[in-house]
């Protein structure tokens, strides 16, 4: 009798806890990413395309304050290209010797210049909604790049009877399904410098990959160093184990 006590108890617990699990919100579809898995690493061509999408579209509304122009070297941009990209934007610097603040073109050491001077200005330009900073977006949402991809592709017609408020858009991936962001992408919304066909899905994919890089720029180093460390530990631990067997041989 007592033998069955624990299994029976465990079964009762699991049965009691299941209904609560079922009531979760809809899952975000999983995409294939070059950077997933133990051997995963970024596809630099894709990141450059994603940066192009960010630069031409998203950066009109969204900031990316944690990333500096110099970091773009990791995507394969040359120093001169980075200087040119930075110089497109103006930043306030100073005070100079006269005590005045002045405008100058951004330099590689500057962080990506936000589209609005402050949150209030961003809200005024966006119907009262604040476009969030995108530096950590993939780490700050359940689902990461899958979620961003689902948002970008989630602008569909609302189901019959669903009332979308003024200035809001229906999005199947967004919690509550009403988002203040107008659909930012469509087929051929950008013309890729590398000739890749710019379908809506391709754009969403590239933009999401780029945002993942922005949030986890260390991923490539982390994965390759991790493999070396684990390989080393595996050998070391195996040797410890062999030694342990040898030392303990006369005790057992």
């Amino acid at each position: 009798m007592r033998k069955y006590l624990i299994p029976a108890f465990a079964a009762a617990v699991i049965a009691a806890a299941t209904p609560a699990v079922a009531a979760e919100k809809a899952e975000v579809a999983h995409q294939n990413w070059s950077f997933q898995g133990v051997f995963g690493h970024y596809d630099k061509a894709q990141l450059r395309r994603g940066f192009q999408v960010f630069r031409e579209i998203c950066s009109n509304c969204h900031s990316m304050k944690l990333v500096a122009y110099r970091n773009l070297a990791a995507l394969g941009f040359t120093e001169d290209q980075i200087k040119a990209i930075a110089a497109e934007k103006q930043v306030t610097d100073g005070p100079n010797d006269q005590g005045d603040m002045f405008q100058r073109p951004a330099r590689p050491a500057d962080h990506i210049v936000p589209p609005f001077p402050n949150d209030q200005a961003a809200r005024v330009a966006n119907n009262g909604a604040l476009p969030p900073d995108l530096s950590l977006m993939t780490k700050a949402r359940e689902g990461g790049p899958d979620y961003v991809y689902a948002i970008l592709n989630g602008f569909v017609d609302p189901p019959a009877g669903f009332k979308v408020n003024d200035g809001m858009y229906y999005n199947e991936a967004f919690p509550g399904h009403q988002i203040a962001m107008p659909p930012p992408i469509s087929d051929d919304a950008v013309t890729y410098a590398d000739g890749t066909k710019a379908t809506k899905e391709q754009i969403a994919k590239d933009a999401s990959a780029f945002l993942n890089w922005a949030a986890e720029p260390e991923l490539d180093t982390r994965h390759s160093l991790g493999l070396k460390v684990l390989g080393f530990l595996l050998v070391l631990t195996a040797m410890f184990y062999a030694l342990k067997r040898k030392i303990w041989a006369n005790v057992h």
Partner: protein
């Protein structure tokens, strides 16, 4: 400490004046250890390793961290992006806390199962519990430091609990905060304390080990050491066994650090703290979840706080609640069942703590909180009426013959 003889003259000279080498010889080399310890006995030294890793990574993180409400979040991101291998330091520290708790929880449940809390190890057990409480305080304040949404709101929720104390509650909360809400002064003092407490833990661990070496280790049979045939010297037997354990732990821990570094993290904490926006779902770190579930199960705020702290404090009385003279659950058929049920209750409470407190979760939380506390009176009853199985004559007897009474070879001890 009786002086040892060392061949090396310099060592001898120093040891005659400060007997550190004799101490080492005494407590890490010759220390007589039961010959039958299984792998569950590895987790004490593994917890010690985690403590060292936490202190080392923490000190280097502190060199680049800024405890200011306007700068903290970005200073952590600067560590992640601009400090050389800063991401490694931070991910090791962040996940290290989780693995520290994994080790300590296994260590505690090991002690429960094998009755290590009983005479003569009551003070050793208390020191362990004080270490555990200090760890919880340290981890709680550490979680505040990155100043993300959950850092801020978690701190707000938990510090608010003190306001439930009658009469002085509000004063205590204000005093803890250094103001009228969680803000810059709170972050500052939490950083100061988070830096300090690990060294307090270090000192407590030292006392813990002194107490251990006074009463000596318990063992899976739970019977006393009868003579030298029951023990083996710590070195080389347990040094190599601990090293092997360290290798395995590091593989799992660093596997998470390198390949799933945000496994234990709620994404919401990557959103900077904002006192104007309450996140929809405030959860503490996983190692607090069972207690969080107990807290929320009591409809009264003060009652919840008392239940939550009581859930830990009651462990201090365990050596007297359990009246049985037999230590190891191996020879206590009913206690063994009770132990596993208690373990399961803790796991389920952890799950309940992670869920929003709605519907069935509220009821389940109450049922399992009661079950948690029921363990102690049931243990008391069991210990009075349970008929233990016959104990082996000595540690050496079953171990040397390769078979213990009525038990086939135990998988844990084969390796």
């Amino acid at each position: 400490m009786s002086g040892n003889h060392f061949d090396n003259k310099v060592i001898q000279w120093l040891d005659d004046r400060l007997p550190i080498f004799s101490m080492l010889q005494h407590s890490a080399v010759e220390y007589p250890t039961p010959r039958n310890l299984n792998y569950w006995w590895n987790f004490g030294s593994l917890a010690g390793l985690m403590l060292v890793i936490m202190i080392l990574t923490g000190v280097f993180l502190a060199m680049a961290y800024t405890p200011n409400e306007a700068l903290a979040f970005n200073s952590v991101e600067r560590i992640m992006r601009d400090v050389n291998y800063g991401w490694l330091l931070r991910y090791m520290h962040m996940n290290g806390a989780s693995f520290f708790f994994v080790c300590v929880y296994i260590h505690i449940f090991r002690g429960l199962y094998y009755g290590s809390y009983k005479a003569p190890r009551e003070v050793l057990w208390w020191l362990g519990l004080i270490i555990y409480l200090t760890m919880m305080g340290t981890a709680f304040m550490g979680y505040c430091l990155p100043w993300g949404q959950l850092s801020f709101w978690g701190t707000t929720v938990i510090t608010n609990l003190f306001s439930a104390i009658p009469v002085v509650g509000d004063y205590i909360t204000t005093w803890l905060w250094g103001g009228f809400s969680v803000a810059n002064p709170t972050l500052n003092r939490f950083f100061a304390l988070h830096f300090l407490l690990p060294f307090v833990i270090f000192a407590l661990v030292f006392l813990h080990v002194v107490a251990l070496h006074t009463t000596k280790s318990n063992n899976p049979l739970g019977i006393d050491v009868k003579g030298p045939q029951d023990t083996i010297p710590f070195h080389p037997y347990y040094t190599i066994k601990d090293l092997f354990g360290i290798g395995v732990l590091l593989m799992v821990y660093l596997g998470v650090v390198f390949f799933l570094p945000n496994f234990f993290v709620e994404p919401t904490n990557y959103i900077p703290a904002n006192s104007m926006v309450t996140p929809p779902h405030i959860v503490p770190e996983w190692y607090f979840l069972p207690f969080y579930a107990i807290l929320r199960s009591v409809p009264d705020k003060l009652g919840g706080v008392i239940a939550m702290f009581g859930a830990i404090v009651i462990f201090f009385f365990l050596p007297w609640i359990d009246r049985s003279k037999v230590r190891s659950a191996k020879f206590r058929p009913i206690y063994k069942q009770l132990f596993w049920m208690f373990f399961l209750v803790c796991v389920v409470l952890g799950y309940i703590g992670s869920q929003p407190p709605e519907g069935t979760m509220v009821t389940l939380g109450r049922v399992f909180s009661v079950a948690y506390f029921a363990f102690f009176p049931l243990l008391w009853l069991t210990s009075k009426f349970e008929k233990p199985k016959p104990l082996p004559q000595s540690i050496a007897a079953p171990v040397l013959k390769g078979a213990s009474v009525g038990h086939a070879a135990q998988p844990m001890e084969k390796a």
